[in-house]
Amino acid sequence: MTQNATLFENGAVDVLTFDLDGEVFAIEATLVQEVVDRAPETAVPGAPAFIDAVINFRGRIIPLADLRLAFSLNARNSSLDSRIIVIAHEIDGEATLIGLRADKVYEVTTLDEAATEAPPRIGLRWRQDFVHCLAKRDEDIIVVPDLAAIFAARGQPRAGAAITPLTSH
């Protein structure tokens, strides 16, 4: 995977770790534009549940994605710890700002390539292509999601599921 080569360019990468329903996830720190408190959301009727709202981020209207749905996790209601991580991600060749819902944001830390493993072929309850790699740290396992694959599949937790069309009446 080309992304792997770029992710661990010098054998290690700085990531931002955050919590989704008790699981620890990590995304490349350089992608992160800003972490904001929860903002008023505007639902977009007919959009996939994974990315069903937009927010006003400094005068720009950006989509809000919920990685918890892509990983079939429990989408709890927001709490005091809830944050939105705004990332810049390239979609169809265009840099797009996307907000990611997070139950809690931990810290920026360094992941060593040596401590990571490719996702196991079996025993993973998630779509394998959604997981870029797993990193062990202390007793925890940190999930590094493959954002490109997730956005391309519109966060459908099972491969091949159709996007719900907007229906009238």
């Binding site: 008023p40 505007t42 639902a43 977009v44 009727p45 007919g46 959009a47 996939p48 990315i51 937009v54 927010i55 006003n56 400094r58 005068g59 720009r60 209207i61 950006i62 989509p63 994605a65 979609i91 169809d92 265009e94 797009t96 996307i98 956005f151 519109r154 907007l166 229906t167 009238s168 009446h169």
Partner: protein
């Protein structure tokens, strides 16, 4: 981002030069004797050749050279600017364009064009021998076989450096003509304290021995000749020696100059200033920066309306007055921002002159293009997106509308057909009309075609206006034979869709036998629209005001009756309506008195049931990400005064949705 890639910069420049050349040539075809036009075309060709060579476009420079040579002879009056010559150079221009854009081109095509050019020049110039096509060196008219020594004394205008002129390349060019001695004239250099470093205080005396004619020396100064003093005198051999001997050695003469100049290379220093000086007239800015600026202005307007809310609730008079001032400034800023994005439609219209030229040639018809209202301004993005639809409409007019000269004579019309392209502003819209004086739309053929395609039941009674509307149906084409120009069955429906994509509308009128006219009504800008703000449940949406026909209340009877089929009667017409609540799967109880907003696009009308109408709203349109634009129901979003987001409904999508789900009421309405 501004591009600093010199090749890119050259391409932009080349594009402009080619456009200048094209316009000049087209003007010339109407006005063959106009010396200034010839000179303008020649200058543009010369610049194109020069810049092309400078940026490594050698093929372009070589090719352009031959056209330049041809035009040089026109300029000198040796050759006449015949229509054939103009045509040949126009054809050659397309090749130049390809070369400038770096597209792969066949050298044979270029050679063939040059051969054609050569023939035409020969024909136009009578007995003159044309320049050989293979000659890649500057033209060497054989009038002056011997060597002549010239004494050239020149001083440039003081501010010439600011305009980007560099004396050194001129001297190099002179040196290229033959061996020469160059001496700087330093008399005019003021004392150090009075010296303005960006001015050119130097003059030069050049003694040049060359086989070139005097005009070759003059050509070196072609671009600055208006503002300079230039003296070219022929010198006898002995005199030339005397001059050179009398002059101090070049190196020592140049030395004090360098000391006196704070910048060792004043030309290079002025190079940077050159852009700034030209900026007085106009600035070239990447469109993306304008968009960014527009975004910032939009944000400012939003922040300002929040400030206004806060100030309104406060007793602090100072805060209130500042808030008012900022409101004033913000709205002024927005207006000027909008005007920055406006460009005259002349930019668009000028492209069609070439099109008409080619169309006339290909169809064998005589066509006059008349343009009106070229100073009318439109948003730049809109202009760009209008080009294709207009090309199509003009082609249609030329190909289907206008008759052949013989047919026109028979119909008692002048042989020359006219296509009138006009623009005018009407309120917040610009109306662009494409009108021809041809045969008009053939109703019988439209009907036959519509019946053939199953768009119309055979023999069905249909109004004239509706029959004409058939032309805009997908897959419709009346062209009896498919030509290179139009009639490929993709056409008017694409035009219609593009115009509607710009939130515009189009109208076709065609009194039989009197030609046809298509009027496009385009909103001035894409960035801001007037919208109607409505509420559905807790969410707010914006409906473009231009699509709104009327607002009414959904009576409890209609509400109860409409569980199965949602149709309401509006002045004896059946209008289907859709409940946005169910369409958007809205939670919570509906308001007691629901409202219907009747919207229309083209001929289709549909009612949208909402909970509340909040009022009109100046909407700064923000695009949606790909995730949400693929939903289809929304054309964008906007930020409201309180910082919240409202989605903008795509009315075209709504009406087609209504047409699909309830075809029966739509038929009944027509």
């Amino acid at each position: 981002m501004s591009s600093t890639d010199p090749v890119e910069i050259f391409r932009v420049e080349a594009q402009e030069l080619l456009e200048q050349i094209e316009q000049g040539l087209l003007d010339l075809s109407h006005n063959p004797g106009d010396k200034e036009l010839v000179a303008a075309v020649f200058r543009a060709l010369h610049t194109l050749k020069g810049s092309g060579a400078m940026f490594g476009f050698d093929a372009l420079a070589g090719f352009t050279h031959h056209c330049e040579t041809a035009f040089d002879r026109v300029r000198k009056g040796e050759v006449k600017a015949t229509p054939d010559l103009v045509s040949a150079v126009l054809n050659a221009m397309d090749h130049m364009r390809a070369l400038a854009e770096g597209r792969p081109c066949d050298a044979a095509v270029g050679d063939a064009l040059l051969v054609e050019l050569e023939h035409v020049v020969a024909a136009a110039g009578g007995a003159q021998t044309p320049a050989p096509a293979a000659a890649a060196t500057p033209a060497q008219p054989a009038r002056d076989p011997g060597l002549t020594t010239w004494r050239v004394v020149f001083t440039l205008a003081q501010d010439v450096l600011i305009n980007g002129t560099r004396p050194l390349p001129m001297l190099d060019e002179l040196r290229g003509l033959g061996p020469c001695q160059i001496r700087a004239l330093i008399d005019a250099i003021p004392p150090l304290e009075a010296l303005t470093p960006t001015n050119c205080h130097l003059g030069w005396e050049v003694v040049l021995t060359t086989d070139q004619p005097r005009s070759a020396i003059e050509d070196v100064f072609m671009f600055v000749i208006d503002d300079m003093t230039l003296e070219i005198t022929e010198v006898k051999d002995s005199a030339a020696d005397a001059v050179v001997e009398a002059a101090p050695p070049v190196a020592s003469a140049a030395q004090p100059v360098a000391d006196a100049e704070p910048h060792p290379d004043p030309a290079a220093a002025a190079g940077g200033d050159a852009k700034a000086a030209r900026a007085d007239a106009s600035v070239r800015v990447p469109a993306q920066r304008l968009d960014e600026l527009m975004d910032r202005v939009g944000e400012l307007v939003i922040a300002q309306s929040r400030l206004k809310q806060i100030a309104g609730a406060s007793q602090d008079m100072n805060l209130r007055s500042v808030a008012e001032e900022i409101e004033h400034l913000a709205s002024e800023l927005r207006d000027s921002m909008m005007s920055v994005r406006m460009v005259p439609v002349a930019q668009l219209f000028s492209r069609f002159r070439r099109l008409i030229h080619d169309l006339a040639r290909d169809t064998g018809k005589e066509i006059d293009l008349i343009t009106e209202g070229e100073t009318t301004e439109l948003d730049k993005t809109v202009i760009e997106r209008l080009a294709d639809p207009l090309i199509h409409l003009i082609r249609n007019s030329a190909d289907h509308g206008l008759e052949t000269p013989e047919e026109r004579l028979a119909a008692g019309k002048p042989t020359k057909g006219r296509i009138i392209l006009a623009a005018r502003q009407a309120g917040a819209e610009v109306v662009i009309t494409v009108k021809d004086d041809g045969r008009g739309v053939n109703r019988d053929r439209v009907r036959a075609k519509a019946e053939e395609n199953g768009l119309l039941a055979p023999g069905a009674a249909i109004g004239d206006a509706e029959l004409l509307q058939m032309i805009f149906q997908p897959g419709f084409s009346t062209a009896a034979k498919v030509t290179n120009l139009s009639g490929r069955g993709v056409g008017m429906d694409v035009v219609k869709r593009t115009i509607e994509g710009l939130r515009g509308s189009l109208e076709l009128s065609s009194p039989a036998g009197e030609g046809s006219q298509v009027a496009l009504r385009i909103p001035l800008t894409l960035a801001i629209i007037d919208g109607l703000l409505v509420r559905v449940g807790t969410a707010r949406y914006v409906i473009p005001l231009s699509a709104v026909e009327e607002c009414l209340e959904l009576t409890p009877e209609q509400d109860a009756r409409s569980t199965g089929r949602s149709v309401l009667t509006l002045r004896d017409q059946l209008v289907p309506f859709m409940r946005l609540r169910s369409m958007f799967d809205t939670k919570g109880p509906p308001d007691a008195y629901q409202k219907i907003v009747v919207v229309s696009t083209g001929g289709d009308r549909v009612g949208l049931v909402v909970d509340q109408i909040l009022g009109d709203h100046q909407t700064v349109i923000k695009p949606l990400s790909v995730f949400h634009s693929e939903v289809g129901a929304f054309s964008g979003a906007t930020i409201l005064g309180d910082g919240g987001v409202a989605l903008i409904l795509d009315v075209g999508h709504m009406t087609s949705e209504a047409a699909q789900t309830s075809p029966a009421p739509l038929r009944a309405a027509s």
